[in-house]
Symmetry: C2
Subunit: 224 residues, 2 copies
DNA sequence: TGCGTGTATTTTGTATTCAATCTTACTAAA
DNA sequence: TTTAGTAAGATTGAATACAAAATACACGCA
């Protein structure tokens, strides 16, 4: 009885959050492209709500760095310049390093098992041509690491930094020739955690991230 | 003529941003205390606007980590637990390290002059008993370093991480016995930039940050 | 054709309204 | 005295309404 009640409470989501999640997903999946205008009335009718929750969701997207608003002109999906990419990567590099240091200290056995399973799931996904699944399992793999770092603040900041560039990454992941390398790097990461070798892990993570730069850079250059 | 026009354009700020800045300041200065409720109607009448811009500002504060909203109950100023503090410090430690590495590479001569001036301003401020001024000049000193890192994304993330704990820091800074140490550390930082000694800078920054932990921790413990 | 100009339309900014939920205070019963 | 229940008021959630600004477009003119 009471369980039902709390369940309902958890179930309730303000429309602003529903809208926020919807738009966020759409941006990350590339359905809303960088530079595309986010017109309130248009989105409102499309999602069947009024402008109020749309506007609140846009404020949230803005703070996440996924949208940019120009007063009296409206919001649009944030574009990244190459400089932005460079800047974000610099930050992610530092945060990923911190994450592996923390995770190395704090990872439980259960989480290590989870990591190996996430690895397998990713490997399996690369054998399909379901790009979405590949991206998702890749993210899931890294999520295990971030969770193992046991630092929710870090997790938040990394995920917001990831979001900003991940939406440019689909093109990169579409190219099957990179799968072998990604798998090898993931394996190396697992090996690193197995040995609890922090320095090794940091360098692998750095490589893993660097490999994405050029690919994403190309996608960014293509953007008008 | 045209200058006047562009000036007006720059001058225009949507009310949501005015409200956001106002509330943000109030939270950071401690006028709105952790746990205090942010009631829309109350704030609206107090600031002489309607609820709409208040709500949008609250969404922004929320995303900045300065407010927490419980659906159908409203927003309140975010509280930090000791764990939160620990987590944020871990992140800031990593980001500050990154910032000094970047700044060490990229700092211009003009910025170095600026840093030394900011140092002097801080030192002068400590000779007064204007806590606000001391806090501001301290922040300004660090802002010069962050600006010198020439990475706006990093700057954003650091400033949001700083905000989350700075509002607990007033009590710490109120205690004049710490000024000498702060000044010494700032001097060491300048010396580090002078020598372009990255490792030294990293360790100083780490110390500088660590010294705040216990002080802030005490303030957090006091919070009901 | 190219360039302003003025108007109509669209879009955002803000306020107001209505509905749903939560709080609080009071009453009544154990 | 305490506790359950209930009703009134307060507060948030969402939609609508209105005002101001930006945009688009047609028109006239050189």
């Amino acid at each position: 009885m009471t369980e039902n009640l709390t369940l309902q409470m958890d179930d309730y989501l303000p429309l602003r959050d529903v809208v926020f999640n919807t738009l966020r997903e759409a941006i990350l999946k590339g359905e809303l492209k960088p530079g595309e205008r986010l017109m309130e009335m248009h989105l409102a009718t499309k999602l069947g709500v009024s402008r109020t929750p749309i506007r609140e969701a846009i404020r949230m997207l803005e703070q996440e760095g996924l949208a940019v608003t120009i007063p009296r002109k409206g919001a649009q999906v944030a574009k990244m310049t190459e400089k932005d990419l460079q800047d974000v990567l610099e930050v992610r590099d530092a945060l990923d390093a911190l994450a592996v240091v923390c995770a190395c200290e704090r990872m439980t056995d259960a989480q290590f098992v989870e990591l190996k399973e996430a690895m397998k799931a990713f490997e399996n996904a690369t054998h399909t041509d379901d790009v979405r699944k590949i991206v998702e399992t890749d993210e899931a793999f890294h999520d295990v690491i971030y969770a193992a770092a046991a630092n929710p603040k870090l997790e938040n900041i990394i995920s917001s930094a990831r979001e900003q560039m991940y939406r440019y990454r689909y093109e990169y992941v579409k190219n099957p020739s990179v799968y072998a390398q990604l798998i090898a790097e993931h394996r190396a990461i697992i090996e690193g955690f197995n040995r609890r070798d922090v320095e090794y892990l940091k360098s692998i993570m750095h490589t893993h991230l660097s490999n994405q730069i050029n690919a994403v850079r190309v996608v960014i250059r293509e953007q008008v």
